[in-house]
Symmetry: C2
Subunit: 439 residues, 2 copies
């Protein structure tokens, strides 16, 4: 059998594109309407997606108010409150929540993810983030944001504590001997008693070991410290490679780190974010994207363009091509990327600004066939193990993917027709972790 | 119409009685089995209960291991993870979770309760606890437990921050003007910017104002500081009065404090815990309780009895009446209460110990008629506004209450036949709080 794609759905926000809530037929409140989210999750499950993935912010996004007031992501559910609700209306879909190692407490994190894993029958995943948004610091009583490398040292300790708490009980600790009156075997209880640089946590956790042993460990870190932490601990990486060659480089780097650490390279799935717009023809797909981009507010968009260019773009003619600008050393690679994009897609200043203000990362825009071709190339050339799909608008963009792209991937033998197992781990082909305290 | 009883169900643990998991026909894993909990919640809703109430501990209970290994409460779900799941399988039942002001962070607490309130359509309640269990401190990096009165000062500040965060947005802030591209009205956003003795939290909260304005505020504090905090802020009190006269005293005290603060006394419902065993005859109900008590392990029970008596009871003849013991000044009221109980119910040492090791608080043990008589007396003499029911074992004890006691209360006009409103507040007859920042 050919290598199989793994597909996550990037669902917070339901669509990252800032014009999406205004697209014809879209649900403007999709990010904050439980009935809508239930319907989307059930559609993802019909499409045999591996997981519903919730990014998160611990603050209202830090944007100028004139841009912020146009954002559909400003109100959203807490991931660990939404996902238990979605667990009851799905049966197979993995449920990955983001949890911060900087602004949360490990006993709560361990307990909530374990609870979700039990309630969902083994479908939980923990997306470990160190929270790089300085506005979050102000919501958690910190005057200053913790320095980057220090955050990663703390993250590693936090991970050790959480996984140690999950291992508080052997899998068979709870014997519930009604006649003898013994509820659990005391020999199968471990007290962690952790005292480290950042954390002091005694344990044991007041919940049985998760169904999956541990929920699936997910990370997104792309920095040196982030890649190393991922190579040591992650089982899924939510990546951000903008093109095939960068995808290949990232993939080789992280899988190489794993092998040097003695880990099996198949025990981590690298899933870059991919923004997918489906049409009956390539032209139709491009037209959908162009219409979507046109719904991004121009004043917000031109501010984004100025940041990308390192040059004030507010005086440019919106309906002319991008003028020549002086290249600077500081932001040359971003400048070059933006200029290349404008030339390749023949964009006016307005269109370029709205593209960047909408979504500027990896995108597959075409027919089910061209999209499957591109995905197959990423898979076959070791640029990824699958994708974390970003839908352009909902419900239509998500329905299009499930009803049109998934069948094409299945016809080519690249994607499952039925779930392989019961748990997220089983579906992803990941091993169940041993308990470090009990054989 | 006569005053109406309000009924909560004390569901964590599903039954507080330590012998319950061994009772014939009981579910030994009820406290930790989602399908069971779903069935119990749906039965409570059929019985028109106001709310499913989850107490909580932030540690494995601190008991000698020989007692702990017999406890069915050692593994349980995190309340704020279980309740969103139960929200999707019920339509009317209130969902009250415990949240600690000592060992949690206000931004998380505000956001999670708001998320639950939205997902459930306005059925959330927050049981504010200051966490008196010193073992919890060790799980949250504190070497010592915070001193009692200091915990209450922090609790009040924490409440102010959480309610202030809930008020970050006016109820009508999210206009979602698709044509104009305006998602929310910036004039309807408030930044809290709290800096106090214990907490520093900027805000705004990244979720719309709760459906109920604020989730219902619940408290249990019985100390001087706890009563005062409750009089200032609580809308439901989970009380612990062991008998009618103490219930009346507590009720008059707290409602009097409210009035002195200028609050309407009807804007708080006092619901003492009541352990209810239903039989076709009083004798049958008593026999059920005696059988249940007999399932409490004797060595654990005799240790409880020794604590109550302030006197080592391990040498007493288990099958004889309680011998005379010297009364001490330190624990005289507990001693007298235990001795009176032994005499009243004609208990042997073993039976007395197992009663105390099972459940020693307020209990209504009888027929639906005698139970309704007692409940009516509490209501009519202003000892309570209803009860937080503790079931002796599940599912049978809970089914008995819903199928036998509830219809009797309804026949007497003491309890609803249909839910009055859509939200927990509406069902409890509590006003929706104004937003302190927006008229």
């Amino acid at each position: 059998m050919a290598r199989q794609l793994r597909l996550g759905a990037f669902m917070r926000p339901t669509t990252i594109h800032t014009g999406a809530w205004r697209y014809p037929g879209a649900w403007p409140d999709a990010n904050f309407n439980f009935e809508h989210l239930k319907r989307l999750a059930q559609t993802l499950e019909r499409g045999r997606f591996d997981a519903f993935f919730m990014a998160d912010h611990l603050a209202v996004l830090n944007m100028p108010i004139d841009a912020l007031k146009r954002s559909h992501t400003v109100t959203s559910f807490d991931p660990l409150t939404l996902l238990p609700a979605l667990a009851t209306v799905t049966q197979h879909l993995g449920l990955i929540a983001t949890g911060s190692t900087t602004y949360d407490l490990p006993y709560h994190v361990a307990r909530k993810f374990s609870s979700l894993d039990h309630i969902s029958g083994g479908r939980a995943g923990w997306n470990i983030v160190t929270t790089s948004n300085p506005d979050a610091a102000a919501n958690f009583g910190h005057d200053e944001h913790m320095e980057h490398d220090e955050r990663y040292v703390r993250a590693r300790e936090f991970y050790d504590v959480v996984t140690g708490l999950w291992d508080s009980w052997a899998d068979d600790a709870f014997i519930r001997d009604v006649d003898g009156g013994i509820y659990f075997d005391p020999a199968k209880l471990h007290v962690l008693d952790h005292k480290g640089k950042y954390l002091s946590v005694r344990g044991p956790l007041n919940i049985a070991r998760p169904v999956q042993g541990w929920p699936v460990i997910v990370q997104a870190g792309a920095s040196e410290a982030g890649r190393q932490l991922a190579a040591e601990t992650a089982e899924v990486i939510f990546g951000a490679a903008p093109n095939l060659s960068e995808g290949q480089r990232f993939y080789a780097d992280v899988k190489g780190r794993m092998e040097r650490l003695g880990r099996d390279r198949d025990h981590m799935k690298i899933l870059p974010a991919a923004f997918v717009v489906v049409g009956d023809t390539v032209e139709q797909a491009r037209a959908k994207r162009a219409h979507l981009d046109s719904l991004v507010h121009y004043e917000s968009a031109i501010a984004s363009l100025s940041v990308w260019l390192g040059h004030d773009a507010s005086g440019f003619d919106p309906d002319a091509p991008l003028p020549e600008i002086p290249l600077t050393n500081q932001s040359r690679s971003a400048q070059e990327r933006v200029i290349a994009l404008a030339r390749r897609d023949n964009l006016t200043v307005r269109q370029l600004a709205q593209r960047l203000g909408g979504y500027a990362g990896l995108a597959f825009v075409g027919t089910p066939q061209t999209i499957a071709d591109e995905m197959a190339e990423w898979l076959e050339t070791e640029a990824s193990d699958g994708f974390n799909i970003m839908f352009p608008y909902v419900p239509e963009g998500l329905d299009d993917f499930v009803d049109k792209v998934v069948p094409e991937l299945q016809r080519r033998g690249l994607f499952r027709r039925a779930y392989e197992g019961k748990t997220l781990r089983e579906n992803l082909g990941l091993p169940r972790p041993d308990n470090r305290f009990f054989a």
